[in-house]
């Protein structure tokens, strides 16, 4: 039984599509202020009441960036990750970053749900698609990253942290960035363990590991390794940077902007906004306001304010 407000939401959304054009403002005012569970209810009720999939109707009515942000937001988080991951496997290596993002910033449970959603939607496993669409070093790193089911406990073995920090340093010094040990450590150890290892790395060898991984700024594999490290240890800093680059880029990278906002709105957007403000001296709201327009801008702003709503 849908609650009164869910029924109302469905009616309003239906009205937003009625007649010529679309009442985007109405769509924003409803969807941007609902959480994933509520949106799920709305989709179910909409389908029962009108016999159509809300997403298909949105697809029909909306266009471009605005459509994409609404569509992504309306998907269930697991479906969203599956959708983004699938898209990423079909693109060039620059999209590998999206795979790293999904594999490393989600919890083990969230990643698992995404993989289940992937089975259901694409009739294949995420691992087989990632493996099929990558090769060489990228495959060696990405397949284990998406395949892993990390232990989520806080236990840390300090002896192991020391020995693995040493191994990492050794391989990096030899420029053996794709070495099995490097990949093994990053792809299989728990996040707590990796944190301990990298802290020890810094204590013992003086630099942040990412600084040592910056030897060639053009090397794409190194960039992916750095992204992996950052996603595993400091996701809010990683996302701040993605947002900053997306906004500062001439013309704006709406894909990245949309992706980060829709995937983090319910998770850690508040912390990301703080990071953004600290790093850029302006608020994220302000930056988005300056860089985007219209309904797209309105939706984004509504979503990043989501936690405060």
């Amino acid at each position: 039984m849908a609650t009164l407000s869910v029924t109302e939401d469905c009616e309003q959304l239906r009205k937003a599509f009625a007649g010529w054009g679309t009442n985007e403002g109405l769509i924003i005012s409803i969807l941007a202020h609902r959480n994933a569970a509520q949106i799920k209810s709305i989709r179910q009720t909409y389908a029962q009441t009108y016999g159509e999939d809300l997403l298909k109707d949105l697809n029909k009515e909306l266009s471009n960036d605005f459509e994409r942000v609404v569509l992504l937001w309306t998907l269930d988080p697991a479906e969203r990750d599956a959708f983004l991951a699938n898209e990423a496997t079909k693109r060039w290596t620059s999209s590998n970053q999206v795979l790293v993002e999904i594999a490393c910033t989600r919890t083990s449970q969230q990643l698992l749900l995404a993989k289940q959603a992937y089975h259901a939607r694409f009739k294949r496993s995420l691992e087989e698609d990632v493996a099929y669409h990558t090769s060489g070093d990228f495959r060696k790193l990405l397949v284990p990253l998406v395949g892993t089911y990390r232990y989520e406990g806080e236990e840390v073995n300090m002896t192991l942290a020391k020995s693995e920090a040493k191994i990492l340093h050794e391989k990096i010094s030899e420029k053996a960035y794709n070495h099995e040990d490097v990949i093994r450590i990053l792809a299989t150890r728990s996040k707590a363990q990796i944190n301990a290892t990298l802290n020890h790395y810094k204590n013992e060898f003086g630099n942040d590991i990412n600084k040592d991984l910056k030897t060639d700024p053009k090397d794409e594999f190194l960039a992916i390794l750095r992204a992996t490290v950052k996603c595993l240890t400091r996701p809010e800093k990683y996302f701040e940077k993605v947002l900053r680059l997306a906004i500062n880029k001439r013309g704006t990278d709406e894909g990245a902007l949309t992706r980060v906002v829709t995937t983090r709105a319910e998770i850690d957007m508040k912390i990301i906004k703080e990071e953004y403000h600290k790093r850029n001296s302006v608020t994220l709201d302000h930056a988005i306001g300056k860089d985007t327009t219209g309904d797209y801008e309105k939706m984004l702003l509504a979503l990043i304010g989501h936690g405060d709503a």
Partner: protein, 302 residues
């Protein structure tokens, strides 16, 4: 045995000891000492029932997690068990085992497999072991699609890829071929069965017959596509006269872990392959309560 031993007095037991010089050796300190090997042998035989019962009563997830852990600790000769568990279970069963592993050992199975094999590699420094590591990590990490949908074009093309890798085996070991590992560790089982079929059409032989048996690729393929063949082979090996302890333990493991799954198909395959029923073989070769327990398990569902 119980009815005899249980009734003996001290003197009876002393006569027994003196009368069996093959089991008991006269020691300098004036007592009949158990021959070490026979004590070990007896302990082993009693242990089998205990192990079987303990394994049987465990939750399947815990069972699989412990089997894999044990295999890791034992080393390379036991890696076949890891392949067996990772490849013959359904995606959900394997996932459950991985969860149980978290609870039991505070690590993920993938980190332990990667680490242990890596460790042994340090001592032996061979590239092949590295490839085996990648195969095993891939297998335990897999979360295969379980639906029936198969892309026949891709299956055909991957059968050709595997064929080419096998043809090239004298120059490069198939296990070093990243495409071979990719296909085996990520493709769904229906897809792999389609590959099996296409391979036979190309080459006239079953792919597992063509794969090198030193590096477990053939076992992997069998486990994934025709598990009954694999299991009946393992059971057959357990009954060999020269079977070592590892081979014998497989009897408990296979029967306990498959009793609820595909035991019926395994029995059929065994009968076909060895010309005698599995129950008869167990009747002849095994003793005591352990035998009864095994027979009860394999008779389930009939």
């Amino acid at each position: 045995m119980i009815s005899i031993l249980g009734k003996w007095h001290q003197d009876d037991r002393k006569s027994y000891r003196k009368g069996c010089p093959q089991f008991f050796i006269q020691d300098d300190r004036l007592f009949e000492k158990w021959d070490d090997r026979h004590v070990a042998f007896l302990k082993h035989e009693f242990l089998r029932l205990k192990n079987a019962v303990v394994l049987w009563t465990m939750h399947p997830w815990e069972r699989d997690a412990r089997l894999m852990k044990e295999a890791l600790v034992k080393g390379p000769q036991a890696y076949g068990v890891i392949i067996e568990v990772a490849s013959t279970r359904s995606s959900e069963q394997l996932l459950g085992a991985r969860r149980a592993y978290h609870s039991l050992f505070d690590h993920s199975i993938e980190e332990d497999v990667a680490y242990h094999i890596n460790d042994s590699r340090r001592k032996r420094l061979t590239k092949i072991i590295l490839c085996i590591e990648q195969l095993l990590v891939g297998l335990v990490s897999s979360y295969r699609y379980e639906g029936p949908k198969v892309n026949e074009e891709i299956a055909k093309s991957e059968a050709k890829t595997l064929f080419a890798a096998i043809k090239n085996a004298d120059k490069k070991n198939p296990i070093e071929d990243e495409e071979v590992v990719r296909i085996l560790t990520t493709r769904s089982k229906p897809h792999l069965k389609a590959i099996f079929k296409h391979y036979k059409e190309i080459n006239g032989k079953n792919i597992d017959e063509d794969l090198d048996d030193e590096l477990s690729l053939d076992e992997t393929m069998q486990c994934l596509c025709t598990p009954q063949t694999y299991f009946s082979k393992v059971l057959g090996a357990a009954f060999q006269n020269d079977a070592d302890e590892h081979a014998k333990e497989a009897l408990t493991r296979v029967i306990v872990t498959r009793a609820d799954d595909d035991m019926k198909e395994i029995k059929e395959e065994y009968q076909k392959k060895y010309g005698v029923s599995l129950s008869k073989k167990i009747e002849d070769a095994v003793n005591g309560n352990y035998k009864d327990f095994l027979l009860t398990l394999i008779a389930r569902g009939e």
